[in-house]
């Protein structure tokens, strides 16, 4: 009894030490990569903007300023600090084609874009993980059926497939998210399947099986937690792709519908004004770029930090 307790305590201690040190090492490695830090800083700022948009935005993003302020359609930015006359209302990013404050719309757009990225990737990860795990764990015909379906999905150019799905479901942000989620399932399913294949041969899995653990137990308690690492990297990079795809769909008028402040649709609706009112085309594009860049930098950093082969570098 005493012995057993001791062993259990030791075991727990070992596990806690191990898990703490794994995350600590990951964090440490991540912080050593300056690109990842930059990514995290940008992302942090974007998250803060998204969470506090209603307090920091100077205007309601849907408010039409006709008759409220002396501003003109597609007016250039007016920043008091840079010499714009004080008697004119300040609009940091100018006025859009419907006489709304572009800056407020950009800020609220952060909220939409981050939500797009997180929700589609969460959806894709959940479905992809389940499919990949089943496929990798059971093998045989289950594996064959699931993976062939994934191959078919992968054979389409992802944006075209998304457009096809949205066309069938009808335009709209929810349908666009669903479409992007569906087209990104295969990459997660493949990643999870690969990790499951390698993890399921591990000794502790065999041990659990020998102890009579159920399939469910083995798969979700033993295998999946240990197969997560590549998924985190894939997911972070996948958010960037999802945001880009959603912006592309909205640009084409298939995603977010007006008047929702979505960067892609803001850019798309003013695309003919690129020489007349460059701020309306350039700023949403810049915002998309910044967001995608932050996720890509962070994803790259995470990949390096989580890669055991690079462990000796730290």
């Amino acid at each position: 009894m005493n012995q057993e307790n001791k062993v259990a305590a030791l075991d727990a201690e070992a596990m806690s030490i191990k898990s703490v040190s794994l995350w600590r090492i990951t964090w440490r490695r991540l912080f050593r990569r300056r690109s990842a830090v930059v990514g995290m800083i940008i992302l942090g700022i974007l998250v803060v903007i998204a969470l506090t948009a209603q307090w920091i935005a100077p205007y309601d993003p849907l408010q039409v300023l006709i008759g409220i302020e002396p501003v003109k359609q597609r007016q250039a930015p007016c920043i008091h600090l840079f010499g714009c006359p004080e008697d004119q209302p300040q609009h940091i990013a100018g006025i859009d084609g419907n006489v709304r404050d572009e800056f407020s719309r950009l800020l609220y757009g952060t909220r939409v874009s981050l939500w797009i990225g997180l929700s589609t990737v969460t959806f894709a990860i959940v479905i992809g993980t389940i499919l990949g795990a089943l496929s990798g764990y059971f093998g045989g015909w289950v594996d064959n059926v699931i993976m062939r379906i994934m191959d078919v999905l992968l054979a389409f150019p992802s944006l075209l497939l998304a457009i096809a799905i949205v066309t069938v479901l009808g335009p709209g942000l929810t349908n666009a998210l669903l479409a992007i989620g569906i087209v990104s399932i295969p990459s997660y399913a493949r990643v999870v399947r690969a990790s499951v294949l390698s993890v399921r041969e591990m000794d502790y899995v065999s041990a659990t099986r020998a102890l009579g653990g159920s399939n469910f137990d083995i798969l979700f308690r033993r295998i999946l937690p240990n197969a997560m690492t590549p998924l985190i990297v894939q997911g972070t990079l996948g958010i960037a792709t999802a945001i880009l795809d959603a912006a592309a769909l909205s640009f084409l008028g298939l995603g977010a519908q007006p008047p929702m402040p979505e960067w892609g649709s803001m850019l798309g609706s003013e695309r003919n004004q690129v020489f007349t009112a460059p701020h309306l085309v350039f700023l949403p594009g810049f915002a998309i770029m910044l967001t995608v860049l932050s996720f890509n930098l962070l994803g790259d950093g995470l990949r390096d930090a989580l890669d055991p082969r690079l462990a000796h570098n730290t």
Partner: protein, 584 residues
């Protein structure tokens, strides 16, 4: 590596700031000019394409022509003309298949200008007009084509034998430039005397310059928000009236339309006779609108859709923005949640015309000919399904009015129809999209015709010998019987005359080559008495056989002279119907 990344990032941020700061103000806009280049009158009809589309099986001619009479055996071919006959040298009799109150307005269109019979035959090639026919048309107009330097200019000289008042300037020159800013520069430099399609942002400049004159062109088009009354809640007239009061139309015109546009008081633009009989549209009154909605059982508004096609027209220069503004106004003023649905153009026209759109639809119409029937009968006639089931109180007066050629006698019926439209609100008329021309201040009689038929013979360029006009584009050809392009038609109008024309700066027809055209009792036979002593540019005399030969050239697909530039004959087909039947 990391340093490079930082550098790259900072360069990007800096570059973006510089670009935004140095970008031209939204006002220097060449991009917003596009819609204005469209001539309202000659624009291919907005909501209905011309019916003349080339068909794979060639059509079979059905007309007979003997030099004095053009006729078809029966009216089954669907066109307007039964026969056109030169009854004597100065009389032409047009026999129609159905009554047409707008006969004079249609015949006055410059596409139906009269050519000499011999010239039509001489310039007809095997498959198209000869270059002589395309570039040096012979007509009866105040000017004759002297030289067309392709890519540069067209020079006209005064017709010494002109039947009317001699042209003010001896020489007329047409030039072109696609940039409105470039046109304005030329005008300011004094190298041209006038130009068309003033850029939206140059209005103030021209008005502020005492050497220049801005001439606003009355708009002959309409943009409206349609509702199909077979779908609830639009089946309740109070809901439609609420919408009629709940949209601030002035704000839409002020923000999204070029100067020269106006808020629509009636569906038909007021430049057209009888268009604005009856009461003007509702004042903007959101409270009254909300009260009406509440009375109809929708105190909290309702959810619906707002359909449009992403196509720029003279009547709707900024489609997406106007749609979003209407959406915002419906929400703010009436608490109606309208989801925007952008449709493909063809599907949109088909669905809206069939009355299958459950919600609001944004559409417009440009005049084919300046007659009230071209607006009202096309939209509110008995057979029209676009707005659901139309009430007889709208279409019955229209049927009555279409039987009467005299505008004064027809006025009471159009008053009834307009009042019924206002009362029952099948749609909300929003705007007539306008444009403007600019002239040097010393040009007399400056013109900006609603039909873009400016006749420069009336204008004296401050005593100078040469009048230089600059438009958007070079004419495609000057054989305008077979053209639809407004820039081409304006050049032809200086040279070719039809039986009727239009008063300067108005849509009121005046006799040109005819002295008068008089209908019979039921408007099916129009007898035109021709002007005497008129000579063509080539010296030949004008008489009734030239009129019949011209219509034979345009309508009779079997005629050897039925060859033009495009060989589509869009306007002959659309306004009269080609004399043909489908091939087997």
């Amino acid at each position: 590596m990391n340093k490079k990344l930082f550098a790259l990032l900072s360069v990007l941020v800096l570059a973006s700031m510089i670009l935004v700061a140095c970008g031209p103000k939204p006002t220097d806009a060449p991009a917003t000019e596009a819609p204005m280049t469209e001539a309202p009158a000659t624009e291919v009809p907005a909501t209905e394409a011309p019916t003349a589309e080339p068909t794979p099986v060639p059509d079979v001619p059905i007309a007979t022509y003997d030099g004095t009479t053009l006729s078809v055996p029966d009216c089954d071919y669907g066109g307007w003309f039964k026969s056109i006959e030169a009854t004597d040298p100065s009389t032409v009799t047009f026999t129609l298949c159905k009554p047409d109150p707008a006969f004079i307005q249609k015949i006055a269109f410059s596409v139906f200008g009269i050519y000499p019979k011999e010239w039509l035959e001489a310039t007809a090639g095997e498959t198209g007009r000869t270059s002589e026919g395309l570039e040096k048309p012979v007509g009866t107009g105040p000017y004759m084509v002297s030289e067309w330097a392709r890519g540069d200019s067209i020079t006209f000289v005064a017709n010494p034998n002109y039947w009317g008042a001699a042209p003010e300037a001896e020489t007329l020159v047409f030039r072109w430039s696609t940039e409105s800013a470039a046109r304005l520069l030329e005008l300011q430099a004094g190298t041209i005397d006038g130009f068309d399609n003033v850029g939206p942002d140059d209005f103030a400049t021209i008005e502020g310059d005492s050497n220049l004159h801005l001439q606003i062109r009355p708009a002959l088009n309409i943009f409206y928000v349609g509702m199909t009354n077979t779908f609830p809640p639009f089946d309740d007239v109070r809901v439609r009236q609420a919408v009629a009061m709940g949209i601030d139309r002035q704000r839409i015109v002020d923000t999204f339309y070029p100067r020269g546009s106006e808020v629509a008081s009636h569906f038909t633009p007021c430049a057209i006779p009888n268009a604005c009989e009856g009461e003007a549209w509702y004042e903007f009154d959101p409270e009254a609108g909300r009260a009406l909605l509440a009375e109809a059982g929708y105190p909290d508004g309702f959810k619906t859709s707002l359909y449009y096609r992403d196509v720029v027209r003279g009547y709707l220069p900024q489609v997406g923005n106007v749609a979003q503004d209407i959406q915002a106004q419906l929400k703010e003023n009436l608490n109606i949640d309208a989801e925007i649905v952008v449709m493909e153009s063809g599907a949109f026209i088909e669905e809206s015309a069939a009355g299958r759109l459950n919600g609001f639809h944004l559409l417009g119409w440009g005049a084919d000919y300046p007659h009230v029937t071209n607006f009202l009968d096309y939209h509110f006639g008995k057979e029209v399904l676009q707005f659901g089931a139309l009430d007889p109180s709208i279409y019955e007066p229209l049927i009555e009015g279409a039987q009467i050629a005299d505008p004064v006698a027809a006025a009471p019926f159009y008053e009834q129809a307009n009042n019924a439209i206002r009362e029952l609100v099948p749609m909300v008329p929003i705007a007539h999209g306008g444009s403007a021309a600019a002239y040097r201040a010393d040009v007399t009689n400056p013109q900006a015709s609603p039909l873009t038929t400016e006749l420069f013979a009336f204008s004296d360029p401050g005593g100078r010998d040469v009048f230089v006009w600059m438009q958007n584009a070079e004419p495609i050809s000057m054989f305008c019987a077979d053209e639809t392009d407004g820039e081409s038609l304006r050049a032809c109008e200086q040279v070719i005359e039809a039986l009727y024309g239009f008063e300067p700066n108005s849509a009121v027809p005046v006799p040109h080559l005819a002295e008068s055209c008089v209908p019979n009792e039921d408007l099916t036979v129009w007898t035109c008495t021709l002007r005497q002593g008129v000579k063509f540019h080539d010296g030949s005399d004008f008489d009734s056989t030239d009129v019949v030969a011209t219509f034979n050239m345009g309508l009779n697909i079997g005629a050897p002279t039925h060859v033009g530039n495009t060989n589509l004959w869009d306007y002959y087909a659309y306004l009269w119907g080609l004399m043909s039947k489908p091939g087997e």
